[in-house]
Every structure is written in structure tokens, then in C-alpha cells.
Amino acid sequence: MIPSNFSYHKATSIKDAIALSQTHGEEAKYMSGGHSLLPMMKLRFASPEHIIDISKIDGLSYIKEEGDFLKLGALTTQSEMEYSPLIKQKYAIFSDAIKLTADPSVRNVGTIGGNIAHGDAANDQPALMLAMRATIIAEGLNGQKSIPIDEFFHGFYMTALEPSDILIEIQVPKAKNRSGGAYHKVERKVGDYATAGVAVHVELDDSGICQEIGIGLTNVSAVPMRLDRGEDI
């Protein structure tokens, strides 16, 4: 299994990447970790003529709390998330999901941004983002924009990102005192795509009464799905 010929371009900055994308148009695809795109290329389901490597862009790999948000740089690898003390302590839902995503060597390369931007309803992170009501920050031709997660997934492998847009950051509301979540995934064996998965995030008030609930579903339709009816209850 070998991909078709393409031209490889290494982007040195976000601006550079966007310019490259402009130059090469629709036949250009961004690659971060490459663990969603390259397998498709090896199976020759995808044959982009240009690959723009955004993985070497500095400054897009971080996990930090800032203002009201947990901010995740798009190029943060799943492994970096897995071993982050901040994530372990305050955002256990990620630890749940990451352990079940592919395998450790894949997680060493695969990025959180790529997992979301690919738009695959079978990927694990989108459901988490729905449950936590994340905001996607993207940069494109006309500068930065922020996209609420509920407007992000448009269809099968289709997202709100325009062809030149790069997902650069994910913002998740900062963990409150009494908040938390979990991810449960049914898979045929470890590392498999989810047969189905569910991410639940809840926030309780001081008396232990649930104030907020977010439920995201993996791989039950063409797009990662919010379980509205469940949330209403």
C-alpha cells in the first residue's frame, strides 16, 4: 500500500501554510499527524496532489488554562494530552477517551486538532468537544475565527473549515469546582474505531444538583452528534 504521487510542502508558519493552500487550491490538503489522511492515501481513497505539512509550525502545541478556558494547541499530540498532569487532574474525560484511541505509538503522532478537523464521526475527540461545548479557533484567509462546536461538523468528512482554514486551537470551558465527565466507547477490540461512543460532561452546583450537562455521541450518524433529548432531561 503506497500513496499516489504528490508534492510535499513544509509550512513554516500559519501564514505560510495558508499561502501554500491558496497557491495549490483544492488539490492541496493539510497534514498534521497524518494518521487519518495517510492511511486513506495508502489505500488510494484519497489522492491529493499537494500535501502541506503543518506539523512543523512552532507554537501550536500547548495545554494551558487561560481566562475561562482550557486551551489546547491544535498540534498537541494525543500522548501529550495523555501525560499532561493538568489534564489528568482536572479533565479526566480526555484521559478516558485517549486511552481508547488507536494505540500509544499512533497517539505519539496523532494530534488533537487533526482528530477533530478530519470530520470523521468515528473519531473520539469530537464527541468530547460536543459534551464540553468547546469552541474551535481556526485561521484562514481573513484571519482568525471562532466556531462553536455545534456549528463545526457539517457532514461526512466535512466541517465548517474552508479549504484554506487551519484549526489552530480548541477552547474548552475551564473545569469548575464540581464538574467532570467520562467517555465510554464500545469497540470490537482495543484501538478500533468506535462502534459507538458517548461522552458526558456534567456540572453540579454546591448542593450537588446538576446544572449543566453535555452529551456527545461518536459514530452513530454521519456527523458527531449531540444528544439533545438526553441533555434536556
Partner: protein, 157 residues
């Protein structure tokens, strides 16, 4: 591999307008995502291309499209198509039956049954995608078709 979709949807337009769209290959094919008609072989047989793109993924079929049945009385059409992957990696066959019924409250209800058979590489390696893709294509078809009808209605008035 086979997949089957049974769907119903409603549009507010008149039976005549909907029916006229259904039996016009150019109008209906225009609503199916990725389909282009290149050649009319005869009244019931058209040649064209079916190209689909989902993010980085793409497939293209050289297709033959047939009107197998146009039943004016029962307002039912049967369309079929078969396409061969332009890179020789397999084929796809589709049979779609659409029946329309006038609604008491106005508008019409369309009942569609689609049977899709896919052979070759997509069946082998992409089976987890086929149902999802079919669902999505149908949704897009419904949306395109509804828009087209609305536009036609506006133009007529």
C-alpha cells in the same frame, strides 16, 4: 455490499410541479450530489458521471442511468443507475423507487426506496463508510430537490 434506504419527505409544492421534476432527468439528476449527465442515449437511457468527494476522499464512476418505469397513474418512477469506477476498482449499482402522494393539507409526500450495491475496493476497505455516505447523499438530494422545487415555484409565480 448492499445497503438499503427507505425515506419519506414532504414538500409544499403541487403534485404537478413535483411530478414534472421527477420525470425530467436533467432536473432530478441535478439534485443528486455529484451527478452530471453527458449524453442522452434514448428517452430512458442517459450516460454521465457520478463523482463524490468527502473531504480528502473521492470516487468517480462512469455511469449509465435508466428510467425503468414511469407510472403516471400511480405517480411512481423507478430509476436505476450503474457505474464503473473510472480507475477500475469496482462498480456500484443503484435502484431508486419514488412514489408521490398528495397530502390533504396541501403539498406532497415523497416515499423513496433506494437499494445500493457496491463492489470492489470501497466494499472491501470502506464498508464502515457506505451507510453513512448513503444517508448523507440522500439528505443532500432532499435538500437540493426541495430548493429546486421552491425556485421553480417562485419562477412560475
Amino acid at each position: 455490499m448492499k445497503t438499503n434506504l427507505t425515506k419519506s419527505f414532504e414538500v409544499p409544492q403541487s403534485t404537478e410541479l413535483v411530478w414534472s421534476h421527477l420525470i425530467d432527468p436533467e432536473k432530478i439528476m441535478d439534485c443528486v450530489p455529484g451527478v452530471s449527465i453527458d449524453e442522452k442515449v434514448d428517452d430512458n437511457h442517459y450516460k454521465g458521471k457520478v463523482g463524490m468527494k468527502f473531504g480528502p476522499m473521492g470516487v468517480e464512476y462512469d455511469a449509465d442511468i435508466f428510467y425503468n418505469e414511469i407510472d403516471v397513474e400511480n405517480k411512481k418512477i423507478i430509476l436505476s443507475g450503474n457505474g464503473v469506477d473510472s480507475k477500475g476498482k469496482g462498480n456500484a449499482e443503484m435502484k431508486m423507487t419514488i412514489t408521490i402522494t398528495e397530502l390533504d393539507a396541501g403539498g406532497v409526500k415523497l416515499d423513496a426506496i433506494m437499494d445500493i450495491t457496491i463492489n470492489g475496493k470501497i466494499a472491501q476497505f470502506g464498508s464502515r463508510l457506505v451507510d453513512t455516505v448513503s444517508e448523507q447523499l440522500f439528505k443532500q438530494f432532499v435538500s437540493n430537490f426541495s430548493k429546486k422545487l421552491a425556485a421553480a415555484e417562485t419562477a412560475a409565480s
